[in-house]
Symmetry: C2
Subunit: 114 residues, 2 copies
DNA sequence: TCATACTATTGACAACAGTCAATGTATTCA
DNA sequence: TGAATACATTGACTGTTGTCAATAGTATGA
């Protein structure tokens, strides 16, 4: 989960989500948060995320076998994690390389730890 | 989200869930985590949780109106949050009183912040 | 005991999500 | 240019989920 390269993180990725224990959530904010947690609510995606987080960078092609899912399914899941801002991908040559966005994980952790 | 009363928390609630960035998750662990995140993946439940977390204790009857959902739907959602270990309920008289389980929220936060 | 009030359960339905085979797109290399 | 490779998209199918009306359960108070 270390991060040698400096990558720019979209502001919206970090400027998000007030903690849960301080006043009622707006419907809008609740919807945004629900999208993030929804991305984390599938076992395959959680294992995928943990695989990516354990390396510095992981190729899509390296996920198929350990997860035991078809290529389209892998593609589907990476997309959902990416749309939630939890991972980010870069295409280099034929390969798609994924890495986690630690800032985003911290945002989510902060939601819950007050 | 403060907690005047001492409540005993089931061990399994706290002894759970290794961080995401350290080695691949087992299928079993991924399933457990997915259940928790699944409970957090609905806007109504997130607003519900934030309402409960903002008070010390909240009656089921006090959730219907702010969430704009029917009584059976409220009951459905409290059950899912409770099964995920995120809230705990106590029946007193005719009323069901809910409070958050801060230890559980911290567990989830720890999954992501390592 | 009867009526009232709060919650849980059941059943039904529409919307959504996970999965894969088939196909399309883009990149590399001969 | 053509073949091979990695990934994305589409379409179809199945299973799950959010929702509520209707009903059942349980506690209170007259």
């Amino acid at each position: 989960m270390s991060h040698p390269k400096t990558i720019t993180v979209d502001e919206a990725v970090v400027n998000c989500c007030s903690p849960i224990g301080v006043g009622a959530l707006s419907e809008l904010e609740a919807g945004d948060m629900a999208q993030i947690f929804g991305a984390l609510s599938d076992p395959a995606r959680l294992r995928m995320l943990s695989l990516i987080a354990s390396e510095d960078e992981v190729c899509s092609c390296a996920l198929e076998e350990p997860l035991g899912k078809s290529q389209p399914t892998i593609s589907h899941h990476t997309r959902i994690l990416a749309e939630a801002g939890l991972i980010t991908g870069e295409k280099r040559g034929r390969w798609m390389w994924w890495r986690v966005v630690p800032e985003r994980l911290k945002v989510v952790a902060r939601i819950l730890s007050e």
